[in-house]
């Protein structure tokens, strides 16, 4: 098979290229991070007025984002009061230094608000009835703790969903620039991939990190009885009586 070699030949045939976003995955992404103690204690501010706090916050954030490409693997913890201008400083610095950042905030509503305020942010949403045409399937799989993408959407590059090619959920990951989403997206490789800088803006990390399950007393009692039975069976087998 032989097709047009150059872009000029392609256009002359009235055809157009397929365009795919380029994502270089930093090798550090999969590396294990181990916290370690440092000898020098961190600086503690004993309080200041709002203007000073805002100035310091903005300077620290701007410096971090400005130097992000040369000091990879570093993190900056900003702990200042509400209204100190953290989110604004991040937005302005990202716009100025043109970094593809991944921003995580507490809720989807907050993400929507920031995306509406800062036009260089692109909103990324989890699957929902508006961006997924088989949401009932996805919802059912998710409720049972199954891996959604691998079972319902795409596996090894092969679409499993009949709507995959036009899927609005996946299309949002083709957007260029800085993405903003709710905290849960921090654990979505598609969200993190391609990002040069991660901003956790008051995101409720425990909500995303800790999975809670509620079990009623009846189920708990029943489970305990089952486990006791299993334990007895195991004892019988190991002692040669079962």
């Amino acid at each position: 098979m032989s097709g047009p070699k150059g872009l000029d030949d392609l256009f002359q045939l009235g055809l157009h290229p397929r365009v795919r976003q380029y994502r270089a995955t930093p090798p550090e992404l999969g590396m294990r991070r181990t916290p370690h103690a440092v000898s020098a204690a961190g600086r503690v501010d004993r309080g200041s007025d709002l203007a000073t706090a805002r100035g310091k916050t903005q300077a620290a954030i701007t410096r971090m984002i400005r130097d992000a490409r040369i000091q990879r693997g570093k993190a900056l913890l900003v702990r200042s009061a509400q209204g100190a201008g953290k989110s604004t400083a991040v937005a302005l610095a990202l716009q100025q230094h043109r970094l593809n950042a991944r921003i995580l905030v507490g809720t989807r509503t907050l993400a929507q608000e920031q995306a509406a305020t800062y036009h260089h942010y692109r909103l990324i949403e989890g699957r929902n009835p508006h961006n997924c045409q088989r949401y009932e399937v996805v919802e059912s799989l998710g409720a049972r703790g199954h891996p959604i993408e691998r079972l319902a959407c795409v596996a090894d590059g092969e679409p499993l969903c009949p709507f995959f090619q036009s899927c609005a959920y996946y299309r949002q990951f083709a957007q260029p620039g800085t993405w903003i989403a709710a905290a849960e997206q921090l654990y979505n490789p598609r969200f993190v991939r391609g990002g040069e800088f991660v901003v956790v803006d008051d995101a409720e990390l425990p909500r995303a990190m800790v999975e809670e399950h509620h079990v009623d007393l009846e189920t708990l009692t029943h489970s305990a009885e089952q486990l006791r039975g299993k334990s007895r069976g195991l004892h019988h087998r190991t002692s040669g009586r079962g």
Partner: protein, 244 residues
């Protein structure tokens, strides 16, 4: 508009004014004068038509046949020397040979060709190449590739910038695809080119090198994508079923 202009990143090197090379404004002046004093012969027009460029566009961009050796070549050089001082011409790529003598390409016998101008976003000629008819491209002696690029077409609403190898390819692609294209001579994308691309503020930079079975083109594509991505540009790659 004023605030947009203020937000534009500052270019570190505007068209090569940072070293011993002539500033782009001066290079453009000399190249434009040369283009005005050269003709576009039928042999070159046939080749440009074959590539897909209409005659009027070829003429307006500045594709011109190289002068024939003899009186035409001599008259061309004489006109240049009347307009510009020899030391100035000698510093302009294309007008000196490896022995620093004042010269220019010439057509001899069956060996003919045409010059391919590389124009920037302001229409200035940043550099030239010579296409040998039936042969390859030659880059003017003394050219610094990092200062040479060709912008063709308009950004349009989408502001997708297609980047490719070669000024003529970019021009033809822009014409037929109604696209905004940037072409550089060869596959060596330089930081200065990336600087230019950043200043153009495209919504997407699409790397559209040839689709061919060629490991060096594949490596160049990867190199371009990585360099653009590392520069913080929204980088995309174009694919199609090409020459396999």
């Amino acid at each position: 508009m004023a605030s947009q202009a203020q937000q534009r990143p500052e270019r570190t090197n505007r068209g090569g004014n940072d070293d011993d090379q002539l500033p782009v404004e001066v290079r453009s002046l000399i190249y434009s004068f040369a283009i005005d004093h050269l003709a576009l012969r039928n042999e070159a027009l046939v080749d440009l038509r074959r590539r897909g460029l209409p005659d009027d566009l070829a003429a307006s961009v500045g594709y011109r046949s190289i002068p024939r050796k003899g009186t035409e070549h001599a008259a061309f050089l004489a006109a240049l020397r009347r307009e510009f001082a020899d030391p100035l011409l000698a510093r302009c790529p294309g007008f000196r040979d490896k022995n620093q003598r004042l010269t220019f390409w010439s057509a001899v016998g069956d060996r003919d060709g045409y010059i391919v101008p590389y124009r920037d976003e302001l229409g200035r000629v940043t550099g030239i190449q010579m296409k040998v008819l039936g042969g390859k491209y030659l880059t003017a002696v003394g050219t610094r590739i990092k200062h040479v690029y060709h912008i063709a077409g308009e950004p349009g609403e989408r502001r997708d910038l297609l980047t490719t190898e070669g000024g003529l390819k970019a021009q033809v692609a822009a014409f037929h695809g109604k696209a905004w294209c940037l072409g550089i001579p060869g596959q060596a994308l330089q930081p200065e080119h990336i600087d230019v691309i950043s200043c153009l503020q495209p919504a997407r930079v699409i790397v559209a090198l040839d689709q061919e079975v060629n490991p060096s083109t594949d490596a160049a594509r990867e190199r371009w994508c990585e360099a653009l991505w590392k520069a913080g540009l929204p980088t995309y790659r174009a694919t199609w079923e090409g020459e396999l």
